[in-house]
Symmetry: C2
Subunit: 235 residues, 2 copies
């Protein structure tokens, strides 16, 4: 087997999941960490697969998407560096609830269910850190549910762009550039709307000079205008 | 201060949060548990309140509802006996993210943030149990997001009724009766649709003899028909 990329104690100690751990505990974690480099457009796991592992993205971007028994599909989340994914399956039915695909070249850490539970049992701080991470995700999901139930589509698209720019935005001379390729279909899926609606909005905003798309990469030139749409403040 | 209702080790050991704990650990839990009886229509906590506690419903029903900064409101969840609520705030920003109201007379256990974190630190099993509970909630929120994004309103209303009947349904001679009062507005809020749409659907289904409402209590006479609408199987 080809060895994975090299990593050190420092790479782990900066992660929210391992905050507040001693050097010796970090060494225990390292001993059971699998590190893997993946090319762009790699399927990391399939919805419904068993033998689940907890995943943590070190570098790159990953799309999590879910399909219902009726074929309806949504983008659950875009994962950026430092974020966990796939881990909910560990604590529920032991099957991945969604597909995960790399959007860029990427590096991940992962842990088997048995190893992670052993670590959490021995070191409750890891379980408490995981609770904090999962608690934030629940709040985010509830905010999205509320937006989806109560807000018109243009505000939802604006909120999605703002969320992505906070999560994966990089300042460039042209504006805030989202750090991974983004299809209009992805934006539609995460907003719970149609490709048609998203295309119409983005085209309008491009013409107004608020944003630009090149090679599937979105750059927001006027974040204050997008914020204004999100706030519904048209005055 | 009036003493709270009496409770014992057995009342705790049957709860998912305290599964697998020894008698001596359960006694530690009891020592910091506050038990409170509340009348119907009591506001348990307000969205935005600090000094959060983790709550667990022992008896009765509670409605969790959330209001956005733009005034948009959703019912996040109905809580039944044995379920936790309000606890996400402990692991995030220390403010309740929603309002909680009793729908019936009710009894709850609760724990302060400091006491619960102390228990979890000393007994990692409690933190791991909490992760399992929260993991299920995330899956549920993601399923709702997918339904809301991809399904027509009648299927969402059908799924909501089926979910409520699994969560709080009781077999009666007339069908499955939901164990707490339910306004049509509540159903609309949890489905992310309008009162008008819900009323139109429920009236149609009442006329067809699939369900009946009396004193805000809903009884589903023909659960198979509701299931059929949920499955979109009209053949």
């Amino acid at each position: 087997m080809k060895p994975g990329p090299q990593f050190s104690r420092n790479d782990l100690s900066s992660l929210a999941l391992f905050e507040g751990l001693s050097a010796s505990v970090l060494d225990e974690v390292i001993a059971v960490t699998r590190c893997r480099a993946m090319a762009r457009d790699t399927r990391i796991f399939n919805q419904g697969d068993g033998h689940v592992r907890a995943h943590l993205l070190v570098e790159g971007s990953v799309r999590i998407s879910q399909t219902g028994s009726d074929g309806g599909q949504i983008v659950v989340r875009f994962i950026g560096p430092g974020e966990m994914f796939g881990a909910v399956a560990l604590f529920t039915d032991g099957k991945y609830p969604a597909d995960a695909d790399t959007l860029t070249d990427a590096i991940e850490f992962s842990w088997s269910e048995a190893d992670l539970l052993k670590l959490m049992s021995a070191h409750s701080q890891i379980a408490i850190n995981a609770l904090k991470i999962v608690g934030k995700r629940i709040q985010e999901a509830q905010n999205r549910l509320r937006e989806l139930s109560t807000q018109p589509v243009e505000r939802r698209v604006a909120h999605t762009l703002l969320r992505l720019s906070r999560q994966a935005g990089r300042d460039t001379p042209d504006g805030v550039k989202i750090g991974f390729p983004l299809r209009r279909k992805d934006i539609a899926d995460i907003c719970g709307t149609t490709l048609f609606s998203v295309s119409r909005l983005l085209t309008t905003w491009e013409k107004a000079g608020w944003l630009a798309t090149r090679d599937q990469h979105l750059t927001i030139a006027k974040i204050s205008e997008i914020q204004r749409v999100g706030d519904n403040d048209r005055t």
